[in-house]
């Protein structure tokens, strides 16, 4: 009996320590800064494209009228909690003013100017656009809003931003890299977890279908004329290749949430994301969606690697390492007993 109690106690301690280490270890905002630049650029581009048909999509005679949109949103039981400031805007002048203001916000997010404020505004703006337009949306909008949401949480302007550049200019000296932060770690961790959820359910959803099991689903994707941007129908002569690619897609999506965490496997798993998403981007014409997913995958790239690749600043101590092993890079004096990996008791065991 005491064996079971000891085990449960040990289990509880390990879970608590693991939870604390995973979420509350300060991390270098370099990865978050890189995600901010790319997600900000994607948000900016996505919304610049709305400019081509701003009145057609958001005006008084929009494709999706306010009545149709409200009905779609409240389809379940006549109620909806989806909000949008676009419901309040009717005149073309106001439409363009608010739209241009949103574009400025997305550009500022990309550049990292007043990052903490514009991160919040960017999320509110992005959600307002999508909630106004049920019917014109796809996966890109989900990833855009997801990234914008988590960029609100951490100091995304702590690296590679105009905020840093301006602070250095004001100080008249080169600033050291931004200090590691817990909120930055939480933001990055949330993107990681959300990506795992997306891939897992994307894989699980495919198991409902016959074609993913049978092995010709990829053919169904590439032979769809409306999606097709590069003709790869020569694959019809290569059914075994189609089947292997179909199966690899399903298994990769299903097991991403497990295999991406061990550091030794992470480069392999992340590098498989590149052909998958670039394939979606260039063969199926969904360049924005493919790239947005790759931006989400960047959350698994350790800040140290980001700094090594982008340069411009020295490596600093701290950082979650994005692999749950922050204690390896944190100086011992800065560690907390409750968040520094295994408990002494476990270590003894």
């Amino acid at each position: 009996m005491s064996l079971v109690v000891d085990y449960l106690r040990e289990l509880f301690r390990a879970a608590r320590d693991g939870w604390n280490r995973f979420w509350f270890t300060p991390s270098d905002p370099a990865t978050l800064g890189l995600i901010r630049i790319l997600a900000g650029a994607m948000l900016l581009y996505t919304h610049v494209v709305w400019s081509l048909g701003l009145e057609a999509f958001f005006g008084a005679h929009a494709w999706v009228s306010p009545a149709a949109a409200q009905q779609a949103l409240a389809m379940q039981d006549g109620r909806s909690y989806a909000w949008s400031y676009w419901w309040l805007i009717e005149s073309p002048a106001a439409l363009w003013t608010v739209h241009i203001a949103a574009l400025v916000v997305f550009a500022m997010l990309m550049l990292g100017l007043a990052s903490r404020i514009v991160a919040v505004l960017a999320y509110l703006a992005a959600v307002s656009y999508v909630n106004r337009l049920p019917g014109a949306l796809f996966g890109l909008d989900q990833i855009n809003c997801m990234l914008a949401m988590y960029l609100m949480i951490g100091p995304s302007g702590g690296a590679y931003s105009l905020d840093r550049w301006l602070a250095a200019r004001r100080a008249g000296t080169r600033l050291p890299p931004a200090a590691p932060s817990v909120s930055g770690n939480i933001a990055t961790r949330l993107i990681q977890i959300h990506m795992c959820v997306i891939y897992f359910f994307a894989g699980l959803g495919k198991l409902h279908g016959e074609s993913w099991w049978y092995g010709d689903a990829l053919w169904g994707a590439v032979a769809n004329l409306e999606y097709q941007s590069l003709d790869v129908t020569w694959l019809a002569a290569w059914p075994l290749t189609v089947a292997v690619l179909t199966q690899v897609t399903v298994y990769w999506e299903l097991f991403f949430c497990v295999l991406v965490w061990p550091r030794i496997l992470r480069p392999v798993i992340l590098s498989l994301a590149v052909p998958l998403h670039l394939g979606i981007a260039f063969f199926m014409g969904m360049i924005t969606f493919g790239l947005a997913m790759l931006i989400g995958c960047l959350s698994f790239v350790p800040p140290s690697l980001v700094r090594r690749v982008l340069g411009g600043a020295t490596l600093e101590p701290g950082g979650a390492g994005q692999g749950g092993a922050a204690q390896e890079v944190l100086p011992a004096a800065r560690r907390e007993p409750h968040s520094s990996g295994r408990s002494p008791r476990l270590r003894r065991a």
Binding site: A82, V127, A136, M149, V182, L204, E210, A221, N224
Partner: protein
């Protein structure tokens, strides 16, 4: 010497969070992490989602998190386009289809129009469809009517039309064997059409 503002900032960001703050944030994280699962559990419907949706729905909808993430699942299916014929006051016609890769550029703009036509096909019927009525002659559901009316109004406004006729065109995917035998992706046998009705300008 480091600037003073930088020192203050560094202190605040590196300071470890107290157990109380960590506990509170942990509760928020647990709430959010469970929320991430409710959307996917809802498509298709599940007992777990039915139990959790009433609690989570306001959060999911307000934060735009209510997604199934079933990309190209369960099976990649046919695509849907909308064909229109606008009759103008002078008796001329404007005929077209959306999405149209020649008209809608860049690709993201094309995709926005593509989703409009796909969405009509994804709207739920009012009840179980009558198996005796073929897809081509299925009546419009209430949700479909609202969207089709909206598209019709948009086209009437854009082309200054008197009346517009709309059709939903379904484009099936050919089998690998058929393509090997020479079938093109735009072979007429791959298309079928469902009437979405004719609409006139509503009096203001």
């Amino acid at each position: 010497m480091k600037p003073r503002t930088q020192d203050r900032r560094s202190e605040s960001t590196t300071r470890r969070w107290s157990p109380r703050v960590r506990a509170l944030v942990s509760l928020l994280l647990a709430w959010h992490l469970l929320a991430l699962l409710v959307g996917p559990w809802s498509v298709p419907r599940s007992v777990l989602a039915d139990a959790l949706r009433p609690i989570y729905r306001p959060y999911l909808e307000a934060a735009y998190l209510d997604h199934g993430y079933k990309f190209f699942g369960p099976d990649p299916g046919p695509s849907h386009l909308i064909r229109y014929d606008v009759l103008r006051a002078d008796g001329s016609h404007v005929r077209g289809v959306f999405p149209d890769p020649k008209e809608h550029w860049p690709r993201l703009y094309y995709h926005r129009h593509f989703m409009l036509s796909e969405f009509v096909n994804s709207l739920p019927p009012d009840g179980p469809p009558d198996p005796r009525v073929p897809w081509e002659r299925q009546p419009l559901s209430k949700a479909e009517k609202a969207y089709v009316r909206s598209y019709a109004d948009r086209l009437l406004d854009e082309f200054d039309g008197k009346r517009v006729t709309l059709e939903l065109v379904e484009h099936a995917i050919p089998a690998q064997d058929d393509v090997l035998k020479g079938m093109r992706l735009d072979d007429p046998r791959l298309y079928r059409t469902r009437s979405l009705g004719a609409y006139s300008k509503e009096p203001k």
